[in-house]
């Protein structure tokens, strides 16, 4: 074995370290590119083999030592990438090997040219130290912000005054800036996605990784001067890490390489902390949902054991006597809080998951259907312009009309699930029409009678259309289901009337009606007479009505036929 003394010159050939850009690396590892072509790349100083081991790329030296110091040699990754793109496989090429050797030689020279970086130590010790320090700060950081601040504590970044990151969680409309300047002053800010994207791409494409704040005025970085930046990207987020000395001097190659290495080493820790903050955010969102949720509820987080309640739960717990046993809730697969002394309200979390999932599905469906529908429309339009008989043209127009109808139905459906509530003044007729279109398949065989009041067209309501349509849809579906399988002809009567500052919309069917002793339970959660019902439709509908300043009630005064519900909506 070669004598590994402490003199730098002698250790030189052993300390070639290669770190391939991760995207290239994963290709190399996944695509089973034959690495044996890299074997015995020889130069006068170095002899090494590239190996795959533990899903990393290692460098093996003739004496059997492994070396895995993460060192980002841009040239090498670029060469590999180019070669890969050109040939699909990396082919044996003298040029390629020569370039690799040259890169590694340059790298060694760079490292050794600056003695101050490793006074009195050899390179291996120096890099060991770097890794140790970086690991140290990352283990002592419990928040993303904390880690960003601690970057400045690294002994080899002592000259730097600011450290910040700009983080974009995929799907968000804004990127977030966080960090410190002058080593203590906090930096925060939000950045538009498009500005972040262009910044990110500039950083990604740049070979120097050194920039000036003046070039990115839109980001509002709160200091002036040149800075170093490095980008990280993963499935969930894109991130740019930035450090600056607050001056206008250029950065040395050593500084750039050290910074990049540190960020590379920190990447898994960024990932861990971002994940952690994601889950914190999830909990705060859960709290917000609970706050808005119309029923008293208590949810237990199975992982942490923590349980969350909303105000309604706190206030109404004692008054309620509806109890759902574990068996029912177990069948939903939800671990709801349960204790011996208390009887709890529980609710079907899955129902809400289903609804939000339905929203997503509808959105997908809308996009998936839009394209073929558009194709059909275009082609029927073309046929219309051909010299065909008027009958045929008429047929084509009919097809076109139907296509438009499909398009508007699917759009209406997905609009129902939009989160924003649209507050344009709406006409009552529109509400009724939209609800009937949505419920069309359920009321196909039902005769519909709509009694509009005289001045109906003049009334404009200031309520969210989707709320009202959702309530109406619910009432109509309930009515239609109640009338199903009856011998007499099913009849749905919708009447509109005005009364003391309210518009009353009544929905009446001629089904079996509701038994007197059941009327009191109608608006209680989980009360249902249907085998497939959730018992939530009317509860949620009434809640929406109350939210709009109206109400939903059962009309006890109409006794002669079927069931009748009255939706009261406030006049503006």
């Amino acid at each position: 074995m070669e004598n590994r003394s402490h003199t730098i010159n002698q250790t030189l050939p052993k300390l070639i370290a290669i770190h391939i850009a991760s995207e290239v690396l994963s290709d190399l590892l996944n695509n089973e590119i034959d690495l044996s072509i890299f074997k015995l790349v020889e130069s006068k100083e170095a002899q090494f083999t590239l190996l795959k081991k533990n899903s990393r790329l290692w460098v093996q030296f003739p004496d059997g030592d492994f070396c895995d110091y993460p060192y980002y040699i841009k040239n090498i990754s670029r060469i590999l990438e180019n070669a890969k793109n050109k040939e699909k496989r990396i082919i044996e090429s003298d040029d390629l090997f020569n370039s690799i050797i040259k890169s590694t030689e340059t790298l060694q020279k760079k490292i050794f040219s600056n003695a101050s970086m490793s006074p009195g130590k050899n390179i291996k010790d120096f890099w060991d130290e770097v890794i140790k320090k970086v690991t140290n700060i990352s283990h002592n950081s419990h928040s993303l912000k904390g880690l960003v601040e601690k970057i400045l504590e690294l002994p080899f970044l002592q000259q730097f005054q600011s450290s910040l990151i700009i983080l974009h969680l995929k799907g968000q409309t804004k990127a977030e800036m966080m960090g410190v300047m002058w080593r203590s002053e906090k930096i925060t800010g939000l950045i538009e996605v498009k500005d972040f994207n262009s910044f990110f791409n500039t950083i990604k494409k740049s070979k120097i990784k050194s920039f000036a704040t003046d070039d990115f005025l839109k980001l509002n970085i709160p200091f002036n001067g040149s800075f170093l930046a490095k980008e990280i990207t993963s499935k969930k987020y894109s991130l740019v890490a930035i450090v600056s000395r607050h001056d206008f001097l250029n950065y040395s190659d050593q500084e750039i390489e050290l910074f990049e290495t540190c960020i590379d080493l920190l990447q898994p820790h960024f990932e861990r902390l971002i994940d952690q903050e994601f889950s914190d955010k999830k909990i705060s969102e859960l709290r917000m949902c609970l706050k808005e949720f119309p029923l008293p509820v208590r949810v237990k987080d199975t992982q942490s054991g923590a349980s969350f309640v909303n105000d309604l739960f706190k206030n109404e717990l004692q008054d309620q006597d509806i109890f759902f046993n574990k068996k029912i809730m177990g069948s939903y697969g939800i671990d709801l809080y349960d204790s011996d002394e208390l009887r709890h309200y529980a609710f079907d979390l899955f129902h809400f998951q289903r609804i939000s999932l339905l929203g997503e599905l509808l959105n997908t469906l809308r996009h998936e259907l839009s394209n073929p529908l558009f194709g059909l429309k275009l082609s029927s339009q073309i046929f219309c312009t051909l010299p065909v008989s008027n009958d045929d043209k008429e047929l084509m127009r009919e097809i076109e009309k139907n296509i438009d109808r499909c398009q508007s139905i699917i759009e209406n459906f997905s609009n129902l699930y939009q989160t924003e509530t649209d507050l344009r003044p709406i006409k009552i007729k529109k509400i009724i029409e939209e609800s009937l279109v949505l419920a069309k398949s359920e009321i196909r065989e039902v005769s519909k009678k709509i009694n509009y009041s005289e001045n109906c067209d003049e009334i404009l309501l200031n309520v969210p259309l989707i709320f009202v349509v959702q309530i109406m849809f619910n009432l109509i579906i309930n009515a239609a289901q109640a009338m199903r399988g009856r011998t007499e002809r099913a009849e749905l009567i919708i009447s509109i009337a005005q009364n003391e500052g309210f518009v009353n919309i009544t929905v009446q069917d001629n089904g079996p009606g509701i038994a007197t002793d059941e009327i009191n339970n109608l608006f209680k959660p989980f009360f249902t007479t249907k085998s497939q019902g959730t018992g939530l439709g009317l509860v949620l509908s009434r809640n929406l009505a109350l939210k709009m300043g109206g109400n939903l009630e059962y009309c006890t005064e109409i006794k002669e036929r079927g069931a009748c519900f009255r939706l009261k909506l406030p006049l503006p």
């Binding site: 409309t173 996605v193 498009k194 994207n197 262009s198 996009h367 839009s370 394209n371 073929p372 529908l373 558009f374 194709g375 059909l376 429309k377 275009l378 082609s379 339009q381 073309i382 398009q407």
Partner: protein, 119 residues
């Protein structure tokens, strides 16, 4: 007369646009696959490339990126017309970065759309 390439995997849309553009006296080539389209772009000589973003094999942006091998960014901005049914802010901002025209599907106005593709 213009030499136009339509990259669109929805055959009805593809063929309809082809017919419409041909009627206006243009020469039209089509591809449903992004990868084949790239080949056509690199070998052919098109005045206009009308490209859907959601293709089966690769995305329309990939096609544009590959076209950089042959065309400058300025040329790309002039040649490409992007068609999309998804107009999220991310898509819009990326499309704008190429500086090319953008058409939302379904077209609000067919004549307008055809004019934009040929002018």
């Amino acid at each position: 007369m213009k030499n136009i390439l339509i990259i669109e995997d929805e055959i009805l849309i593809q063929q309809s646009l082809k017919k419409l553009l041909e009627r206006k006296g243009n020469q039209v080539a089509v591809s449903a696959s992004g990868k084949i389209a790239i080949d056509m772009i690199l070998k052919g000589d098109f005045d206009r490339i009308i490209c859907d973003l959601m293709l089966q094999d690769i995305s329309g942006f990939d096609v544009i990126e590959e076209s950089k091998k042959r065309y400058s960014l300025e040329e790309i901005g002039k040649k490409f017309v992007i068609m999309t049914a998804y107009n999220s802010p991310q898509v819009l901002s990326r499309a704008n970065s190429y500086n090319c025209k953008l058409l939302n599907k379904p077209f609000d106005n067919l004549d307008e759309a055809i004019r934009l593709m040929t002018e």
